[in-house]
Each structure stands twice: as structure tokens, then as C-alpha cells.
Symmetry: D2
Subunit: 415 residues, 4 copies
């Protein structure tokens, strides 16, 4: 089996490869082939990767996207359209308009999506015509891209991943001294806009204990997070990104008074690549980079797609009845039963009105943005921006859009 | 036939009675009976009304709610829970927290709803047990109350009305020199959160002409309203109350720099009641009061419920398939085929994603608020406030709720 | 305005033209153009029609389907694919297998549908590419064809008609000495498989009176129809064609011991065409032909599509929420609000489980038959036949299908 | 943990106990308590059971239903309302009217259901008020009873079981030399009216191979079963009970020319109970009794409800999105993910139109029958019978119902 990794020059690549090494005892991996438009960065990473892998499987570099995916059974998307330069704009421009500047949420997620769509469209088309491989996507905004691919490009073998669910599971497992597989959640929402209603560990409903734990933590760090009453009131564990929606003013202050995360990451990456040139083990600095456990999420998913065990993974896919009071065609981040290449959603009952309030609004925004892209329409793009809970007021919308489009003119053109 | 008017002391009453006089040639009205907790104001109004009605039908005053509704075929709710004093709080308190202070929208609508629910619950219960009359509701927030009555109290013969749809129809009719009945709309949404996708006059699709007209008007008054590009982009006519969502900052500035509308209305009402004491015709000053054509909406609805002609009315009722991509049970403001006591919704196809983004979010807020009321729960009330697009951030939510509850402590208690 | 009539040589044509003459005072008809593959029969009919019409509008004959429809605003389909010869097979072949032989129901309707689909496909395609006219369809099986056109050919301006609803309305109007427009029904189902739950006359619910009337009639003619207890039990008025489902054995005996209806009709038509050669008024013999009031249904529908009055018509169209517990995309026979070219379905609440039992089963059969046709697949055709409540057992299915295909080999080929 | 077995005197009991013995190494079973209205038969069986169990867990007999269930975590329903005498009527009466006489299907299933409902209603009520145990139901008609309990009695912890799915899985496993857990199915429908679209073994799609196998078998025994072309045409594996629908005449001949199965079973049971008096091992004769693997189905289900492994079981439960084009509330027989007391349905995509044709019709019949029972209404019972694809024509319906009600007058009364 060949696995293609698109965005091979990512600083995450070594961790991903470690994940693949871990599962290579359960499933047979013959080759891992890398592709990146930044050949230089990729060279550094892949050379390091070869030292890690030794002869467990072949490590290859491809000159073109097509030759990477043509014989692949799995294709992992982890490229960053527009690079960290693009992210810098996503984070910086909204701030000028008094809006949250964040890589995946709100206006920043909007420009990131517009940059990603043309590449995704081309890449998915190539995979469809060649290997018909299963695509595992980490490229952000991951859920928005999955909505695009599943409902508009209509390519079915596309699974959106994020490391938030697995990290939450890991935290729970740690609290209760359990294994990852002992944790089962009633979990739903959009990527970076998800909600957890129930937590089970080894079959026991520990939801109340988790709330107590959360409140305890919050009471120690009152300024950093939701107040303790928040969980008493809402009774749902929210994705950390909900802070941007629920504490918009505070979060705006916080991020506008710090250096942009993009610039921090640039520095971290610089150091990392220096290390990669000679490293034989994954350097500790990688943990600063974020993205914890993302390799575990991907590697375990591949393992469970390749075997007939039947395991639960929380991924972005079409609802198909999982949340009874959301439409079947919404792409959601939900637990699925994964077995031998099939991904079945699990019935979870009804979703909470509080959660649905955000999920619906942002799903409508997602679709408007996709339609704006597909029609290359500035008018529809404005409509999309105005529909977002964190989007601009009418007064600023036009200037903001123009500035975004100017900054991203190499990547996408709307008229 | 007897018609009961609850809130008989309203300054609108004379206009309503004029509407009833207009239809009294088409349908037989024997008696109109008034009930108000403010007996003094009601006395002034009803005395004036008697001078208007002469002997066209009997004009009565009831001592109790029950005796007013017991023999009624229609009950009109037009009372204002908490009076203008209550409205003053609804408008004033949010402003202190940097939030829109508006009678029906956002936080102000939240406190108005909490004041209304206990009275509505009691009144609907009495009607159910006595006359089983059809209730026509103008009490605000009219759509939210209809959601409460239809889906939670499960009383079916309850129709929510507002004068926005009929005024829009009147404007269109004027532009095209047509009659009200010549206008047909693709219209949907929540009360004060509604959207018009298509306008037909005498069967002709004039939607583009209406957009041109709107843009022309906007270009003359650039500071007062949406910019002209707004309609080019959104391609939906929005309810005027959408300004609060789409131009939140501007509207906040505007309303926070003026006297509260509640106080203006107090003055207008004072003058009006002075006039009513002696008037024999409706005084011109009533037009300043707002509420234009509300009597036409109610009177025509009663006429068409009483006859077998089959006419279209835009009312608040359960969707039941009218908008294909909204759940059947959402109470929406939509066109209905009204005939002999029956109200059938009409299929209108799919709703636009932009419109749905707001409709879904606010419907979820509506339900959370109702659930908070039914459980008398402060915790759920906080959850409801946090879910509203115009609601507070987490930092302010608790103080805001406490202030609202304190100001309304005579009307509702949450724990 | 031009109206095209396809199947101009039908013996019904003069009655249709009379209907058009009736509405020609309300809507402007410039030309009616006829097309038929049987030019000889058409010549006789159209010459007669010209005598009827005088100079109220132009009466034309077209050489081709395309030239008939190209400038038409309405196209009326009333042709019979395969003629009465085809019908003879539809009625005769099933009898050999112990099955109901009926023109539109069960196995006979299956072969009629297979003959119709290729012609409908071609004709609808031509209309789509030329005039984009509204097609009003009487060609049987009318509902099945509407399912085909709306859901598979995806042509929207296609309305399936039948004279059963208007005749039922006429009967009710007669019983209660009312006008057609005074009658309003809760009516739903498939064409020739429809159900009436409620009858209103001038706004009054007369359902119980109608049941009493039906039972009275039945008690006088016990052998001909449902027993009186039937309506006490089922509490729904059923389309007369339900006899084939509910009294299958009795109906089989009845039809297998009479001459085939196709042959009777051949004789009637022969006489009729003899009369048409010289007639100046519609001959009384036409009433024997069946099809009562079908011209009224079509003419009134055109009138109400052309005007802005807003009237109710029971037609075959997509459910779109009319019956809450049936899917939106089922083509049903239901009341619609017709106004200025638009057809809106009306919310009617839930359908009864008894009715739904038949509606679902036959709708699934309809779709299987359409899919068999689209793939020209004998295998799928067998599957369709086996799914029909009046279809063959497995033992007979193959022979039956072969005999049907042989008899219809000029019209449709499956492999 | 205590398990209560209702219908302890069943001849199946020893096999069930063997199943419980098998899982008693994985889950802790403290006591199994039996209850039966036939104390004599139960005594014989339980004495035998005690010899089987030795001291693995306590074996108890309860005098009352309530004392059996009050401390139970699981309650297994395997009683036969009306006993074999009741079954004799279910099978014999329909034959007199030319209808299929079968214990669970068609008219026989109807009378069995009417006998079962009052007992089920009382028993479920008692469980709800006492232990709130999970009920595992084998009492027939198992799916119909589950529809009754889940949707009308609204008791959630009720799972309908049948041995058809596990036997199918066993057969497949044997063909492919695999384990039960290696088989995964796209399976849906009603109990005894189910359909298999896809078969996977160890992750491989072996559906085509299964069809070839079925056809091979059929070609060897042409008179006993579907012809080989059937599977080529329908492309779905059907539950053996579909024979009654698809080969009604042939099956009628077959069953009406043999002794009633009820009488055969009476003889087998007599012999069996003779053996049970002295047996220490399960006698071979039990295999003649039918019901193969039913104990495995129940025991494995309990094991997987008690553990956190997450396993697939095909059970009767609410659809909840599993089959996308069937309503969420239909009780279906479908694969579920069973883990720590929770039962999640799995998304399986759309159901085939052929399958849906039968599923819908019989589900509507099920609901009509339940409503007839709840209202104790003969009229509704007639309506239910008329709606069933294997039910009587109108001519016979009344006599048939009267005869059924007379034969079952001790169990149920309708008016
Ligand atoms: Mn992420
Ligand atoms: Mn209003
Ligand atoms: Mn017809
Ligand atoms: Mn069974």
C-alpha cells in the first residue's frame, strides 16, 4: 500500500511519519510518497524522515501531485495554501476592522477557505480521475473544505480530520486513568465549532464529573477562560474555539495585543527546520508548534480503515442521521464507526438548541462562501461575510472584502 | 359573533375598531367586548369607540378576562405586558452593556418575552377551557409568543400578526398603482426577521424593479440605511429590523444617542388620550404612534376566516412545508391560504442560506428562552442570552440577566 | 396565446375545445393548434371543431410535434400511446394470468406506462428546447407520467390532470346544491389511488353527511360496490379505482366475464367519428365515452394559470410539504393554489395510515418501473412487477413480462 | 446481576440458559429467575435447567411477573400469548378464507399481535414502574411488538430480537469459513420482512459471490424456492418470509395441504418435555423445534450491552437515520452499534424501492393494528386487515375478523 502526503514540507511531517511507523505493524505500508510545492523545505524534512523510517517502508518524493496520488490508496492533505504568509493576512487584516483575526474562525477562516478551494478542487479532481483514493484532510479550514468536497464536488471518499477531538479524548482518558478507546462521547458540531453533551469512560457516564473538573480548573484561572457558571448554565462542553463567539470582545483584545500567531509560528518553524537538517529523533521544539496528536488521529484512522475491527473515530463527514434534528447533508464533526474502508455515522439523538444556534448559522455561512467561490462572485462573498456571526457590519464589509482579495490575489479572483 | 379585544385600553384600539367597522358589511359582528387591566385608560378609549361605532355593533367592557373570552369567536391580543414602563427597561438596560436596546429584537425582546409568557400561558389556558376561540395576537414579541403557544402550549387556533408584511404590500401596491390583493410575495422568516425573495404584482414578477426602486431610494439617503450595494449582493429584501443585526454598531450609536422610544411613545400617548376624551374621529396624531395598517391586517384576517373566498395572509404559524429546508415545526411568518376558519401554508420552495443563517440562530434562541421560562431557570436564561446574535458576551451575561430580572421582578421570577 | 393539443384526433377533442371556448371570454386565446400521428382521424375532428369554434380563435393543424409546440404557451397531452389496440393488450394480457386487466391500474398500467415513456421523453425534451411551455397532461397513466417527468426528466412546468377529482367535486356540489368552487377537500394520494379525508362545502365540514350519503347509496346497490360498513371502518372516501385493490377477486370476475372495455370503446369511437363528420354540436354519444368534465378541468386550470385570482385545483404535482408524513418529492394528486402561472401546494396535515399503505407501495412500484425503462432493463421490469400489490407472483412474472414486451415491441424494447 | 426470563416454561429455555452459561465468563450473572403462567411446564424445564447450570449462577422461579422483574437488569420476553392453541387458530383460520395462515405474517400475525398487546402493555408498565430494566423481546410478532412498545407505550429500553439475522450471518460465515464477527451486512426492513443489500466478510464485499451461491442452490431445488432469475432481477437477498408475499398462491397451496405447523410443534414439544424430565444435556430433538441460534443472539446481546467493546447486533429498534429514506420513527430490524447499555443505529444510506414497497405497506398495517387495539375498535381492526398485502378482500374481511375475535375472546375484546 502506498500513502501519499501532500504538503510534505510541513514541519508536522516527521510526527505524521512516526504515526505511520506505529501502525506499520498492524497494516502493511509499502511506500510513503511526499509532494510539496516548496521543494526545498520538503527536501530537508524528507531527508530527516528517511533517517527515522530506516527500512520500515520506502520513502519517496514526487515531482507532481498526480504522480504522487496515482497509485496511492490514501492521500493525506496537510498543505497550507498560501503558506504562513497567507495566514499572516488571515490573522492581521480582520483586526484592522475590529474583528477577530483567527486562522480558521470568522473572517480569517473565510480568506483561508477562498485560498484553499481552487487547489482542493484541482487536487480532488485529479484523485477522482486517477486512484480514487481515500483522502484524509488536515488542510484548514478542515470542516469547511469537507463541506465543499462532499456536497459540492461530490467526492465521497474524503474525510476531514482535526486534532481537537482526539486531544479532548486524551485529556479525559488521563483524568480517569483510562485508554483512548475507553472514552466515548456524544459529540457533534462543525470543525472548531463542536459540542460535547455526554462523556462515557469504560461505559460509565462521567459527564457530571467532567463538568466538576472543568469548573475546578476554571476557578483557578478565572481570567483566562469561561467563568465557572458558564458550564452550569450551558451544560455542554464547548470546543475551545467557541471563545471567539462567546467572549468576542475579550478575545479581540487578547489577540490584537499580541504578536500574530503566524509570525510566532514562522520563528518556531525556522528553528525546527534547522534542527531537522541533522536530527535523528523528533525535536522537543515540535510540541510548541501545536497540532498535538494529529499524527495519532490520522494513523489510527488509516489503521481502522484497513482492518475489520470496527472502531470509533470522530471525523468530519455528512450527518446522515447522526444528529436527528440537523439535515442529513450537513457535514459535521461526529463519531463514526470505521471498518474496512467504510465510515458509518452513529445515531446520537437530538442536538441541543444552544449548539444548533451556532452550527446552523456557520453552516449557512460555509455554503454561501462556497457558492461565492464557485461563481467567483464578490457579491456573494459579501453576502457570506455578512452572514457570519463574527463577520463585519455592512459599513465595513466592502472594504474588508477588497483588502482580503487584494492580499490573496495570487490565489483566488472574484468579480 | 362576538369579538374580544384584550388590551382594550391601548391607543391603537380606535383604529382596530375602524377596521372592524369596515368588515362589518361582509361579516356579521354582533358585539365587541374589551378587557384591560388598566380600567381607567380603557374607559377613555371605549367611550370614544362607542361614538365611532354608533349602533353598528354592541360595544362592551368586561370585568374579567374570562367573561370577555367565554362567548367570543375571536380573541385579539393587543395588550402590552408591563406597559410602557416595561418597554423602557427593555430598551434602556441593554444599552448599558453596549447592546442594542430594542423592544422586540435581541435583549429587549428577551425581557419582553419573559414578561409576556406567564400572562399568555394563563390567558391561552382560559380560552382553551372556555370558548376555544381563535386568538389573533399582536402582543410583542409576536412571533416568539406564537412559537410558545403553538409548540409548547400546543394551542392550535393561535395566529401571530404584525403590520410589517401588510405595510410592505401596501408600499409595493403604491409603487405599481395596484391593490393590496394584487401583490403576492415569496416571504418567510421570523417576525421582525423576515425576508422577501420574490415580488409579484398582478402576476408579473417585479422583483428586479423593486430592487431598482430600493437602490434608488438608498442612493438618496445614504446615511440612513443599507448602502445600495447591499441589495445587489444579498438579493433579498430584508425586514427593517435586520438593521440591528447587519449594522449593529451604527444602530447602537443611533439609538443610544436618542431618547428612548418608550419615552417618546409615553408623550404621544398622553396627548392621544387627551384627544380621545372628546374625539369623534380618529385624531391624526395616531399616525405618529406607529402601527400603521395593523387594524387592516387583523380585520381582513377575520373577514377571510369568516368567509369561503380563499385569500392570502402573511401570518405567524407553523411552517408545515412552506419552506422546504426549514423544519415543519418552526413557527414562521409566511403567506397562508385562509378560508373558512382554516389556515393552510403554501409551498414556497427552498429558503436562501443568508436568510436561514439568521432564522435558525434566532429560532434556537427563542426555544431556549421558552425552556428557561417553563423551568423558571436562570441558568437556561443565560444560555438563551448567550445564543442570541445580539446577545451579550460571557463577561456581561450574568450582570445583564440579573438587572433584567430585577427590573421585571413583578412579572416573572427565575431561580 | 397559442395552445397546442397533442392527440388532436382524440374523440375527446371537441369537448376540450368547448372548454376552451368557455374560458375564451376570461383569457385571450389566439390559436389552438392540433397534432396527431393519426392524420386521418384528426382531420375529421378538427373539421368538426372548426364548425364549433367559428371565429372565436384560429384552429390549426401542425405537421410535426415541434411546429405545434414551438410557439405555444400551453401544451395539452391527450394522446394515447399505441392507441386502443395498445389498450386492448393492457386489459387482456393480465387476465390470462389471473390478474386485474385495467388500463391504468396494476399490470395494465405498467404496460401503458412503458409505451408512454419513450414518447413523453422525446416530447418533453422538444418542449424544453423550444417554447418551455406549461404542459398539461391527460395521457395515462397520468400520475405515473408526472412522476417520470418531474423527478426523472426534471421538467418543472408539467401538471398531471385527471377528471376524477373534478367529478367528485361536481357530485358533492350537486348533493349540497352548491357551486364547484364552494367545495374544498382534504384530498391526497396518487392518480387513481387517491383518498378524501374531509369535505367542506361553503366552509362547513360536511364529511359526516357525505359518509351517510355514500352508505345510503351503497345499501341500495349492495352487489356493485363496497359494503356500507366499509366507510364506517375506513372513514376515508376512496377513489373508485381502489376497488381493484380491495375487492380484487370480485373485480377480476367482473372484468374477465365482460367484453374488454377497449373493444367497447372502439365501437363507441367508430360511431362518434361517423357523427363528427357532419356534426355542428357535440353528439350525445360522447357521454358514453367516459371522461366526463375532463375539459372543464383543463380549461379552468388554464384560466386560473392565466389570471391572478388564486384558485384551488387538484392536480398531480410534487408533494412539497402538502402531506406532512410523505416525502416532499413524491408526485401526488393534491389541491394546489394556482395563480399567474404558479402552482403552490397547500399544507394538509398528516395522511392516514390506511391511505399511506397503498400510496407508498405503488409509488415505489412507479419508481422501479421508471428505472427499468430508463435502463431498458427486463430485470428491473420484473422487479417492478413483483413490487406491485396487484402484480404477479414470482411463478408467472417472467412469462407475463415476455408477453407484454412482445405485444408492445413496436413501442419499447427492454433487454 | 439478575436476569428475568418471562415464559420460563418454553421448550427453548434450556438453550437460552446454555447461551447465558457461555457468556457467564465475560459478564457476571448472579441469578436467573423464571416466570411462566404455566407453572407445570416451567417446573419441568427449570428442574432440567438447574442440572445444566450447576452452581454457575442461581436459578430461581418467581410466583409473579412483578417479583421476577423487580430486581432484574435484563428481562427476556419469550412467552407465547395464548400458547400453541392460539397459534393453531392463527394458522388455521386464514386458510378458510383462502389466505396465508402463518404465525407471524399476514392475518395470523394480526391475531397473534392482538393477543400479545394487552399482556405486553401490562408487563412493560410493570417493568417501567419497578426495575426500569432493559427488555429483550422474542415474543412474536417481535417487530410489531417493538413498534408498539417504542412508539406507543414509549418505553425506550426495549429491543426486539429474532434469530433470522444471526442465522443468515452464520450461513455466510460457514460459506466463507469465517467467524460470526467477520460478517457485516447492509441489512434493513421489518422483522420477518427484511432485506440484505450488501454482504461483507472480513471487509471484502462478497455480495456477488453470495448471489452466485444462492442461484446455485436454487438451480438444484427449483420447486422449493425462488427461481434463479429472481436474484438476478431483484438484486437483494430477501428474508425467507418474503415467500408469502412473492409466491402467495404457491405457499398457500403448500401450507394448506400440510398439517398445521402448530400441531407439529405440539407433538415435538410433548416429546421434548418428556426428555427434559430426566435430561442432563440438551436433547437433539430441540433442533427440530426451529429457533436455531436464538440463544446466541440473546446472550451475545446481553454480553455486549454489559461490556464496553462496541459490537454490531441486528435488532429491532427505531430507525433514527439508519435508512435515510425511511422515517426516523419506524421500528426496523437493522444493525446497531451496541456498547455499555447503549444501542446506536448506523447510517446505511438509502433503502431500495423494492424493499421499501413492502416495508412501508406493512408498517402502515402495523400502526393501524396497534391503533385498533388501543381503541379496542373492530372498525379500525377491519381497516388494518384491509391494508395488509396478504389481508382479505372486502368481501371476506368482516367474517374473518369475527372468527378471529371469537377464537381469541379470552385474550382481547374489540367493539
Ligand atoms: Mn483543527
Ligand atoms: Mn411587529
Ligand atoms: Mn384519470
Ligand atoms: Mn423470528
Amino acid at each position: 500500500m502506498r500513502i501519499a502526503v501532500i504538503g510534505g514540507g510541513s514541519s508536522y511531517t516527521p510526527e505524521l511519519v512516526k504515526g505511520l511507523l506505529d501502525i506499520s505493524e498492524d497494516v502493511r505500508i509499502d511506500e510513503v510518497i511526499f509532494y510539496d510545492i516548496d521543494e526545498e523545505k520538503q527536501k530537508i524534512v524528507v531527508d530527516f524522515v528517511k533517517r527515522l523510517v530506516k527500512d520500515k517502508f520506502k520513502v519517496l518524493i514526487s515531482d507532481t501531485f498526480e504522480s504522487a496520488v496515482v497509485d496511492a490508496k490514501y492521500v493525506i492533505f496537510q498543505f497550507r495554501p498560501g503558506g504562513l504568509k497567507g495566514r499572516e493576512n488571515d490573522e492581521g487584516i480582520p483586526l484592522k476592522y475590529g474583528l477577530i483575526g483567527q486562522e480558521t474562525t470568522g473572517v480569517g477562516g473565510f480568506s483561508a477557505a477562498l485560498r484553499a478551494f481552487p487547489i482542493i478542487e484541482e487536487y480532488v479532481d485529479t484523485v477522482r480521475k486517477t486512484s480514487n483514493a481515500t483522502i484524509i484532510n488536515f488542510t484548514n479550514p478542515s470542516g469547511h473544505i469537507t463541506e465543499f468536497v462532499r456536497n459540492y464536488l461530490e467526492y465521497e471518499k474524503f474525510i476531514g480530520l482535526c486534532n481537537v477531538p482526539i486531544n479532548f479524548i486524551r485529556e479525559i482518558a488521563e483524568i480517569f486513568s483510562a485508554e483512548l478507546e475507553d472514552v466515548f462521547l456524544k459529540y457533534y458540531g462543525l470543525n472548531h465549532l463542536s459540542f460535547i453533551e455526554k462523556v462515557f469512560v469504560k461505559g460509565e457516564d462521567v459527564t457530571e464529573k467532567v463538568f466538576e473538573n472543568l469548573k475546578l480548573r476554571l476557578s483557578n484561572i478565572p481570567d483566562e477562560d469561561f467563568p465557572a457558571w458558564f458550564y452550569d448554565s450551558v451544560r455542554i462542553i464547548v470546543n475551545p474555539y467557541l471563545r471567539y463567539y462567546l467572549m468576542e470582545k475579550k478575545m479581540f483584545k487578547k489577540i490584537s495585543s499580541h504578536e500574530l500567531r503566524a509570525r510566532e509560528v514562522m520563528k518556531i518553524e525556522k528553528e525546527l527546520f534547522e534542527k531537522y537538517k541533522t536530527a535523528t529523533e523528533i525535536p522537543e521544539e515540535l510540541t510548541k508548534r501545536g497540532g498535538s496528536m494529529y499524527s495519532t488521529a490520522a494513523a489510527h484512522l488509516i489503521r481502522d480503515l484497513e482492518t475489520d475491527e470496527g472502531k470509533i473515530h470522530i471525523v468530519n463527514t455528512r450527518n446522515n442521521g447522526s444528529i436527528e434534528n440537523l439535515p442529513d447533508d450537513y457535514v459535521l464533526e461526529i463519531p463514526c464507526y470505521v471498518r474496512s474502508g467504510r465510515v458509518h455515522t452513529l445515531s446520537q439523538g437530538k442536538g441541543d438548541h444552544f449548539a444548533l444556534s451556532f452550527i446552523h448559522a456557520v453552516k449557512m455561512y460555509e455554503r454561501l462562501t462556497i457558492e461565492a467561490y464557485l461563481k467567483r462572485s464578490k457579491k456573494l462573498a459579501l453576502k457570506a461575510l455578512l452572514s457570519h456571526p463574527l463577520g463585519p457590519d455592512v459599513e465595513d464589509a466592502k472594504d474588508l472584502l477588497e483588502e482580503i482579495l487584494k492580499a490573496n490575489s495570487e490565489h483566488v479572483k472574484l468579480e
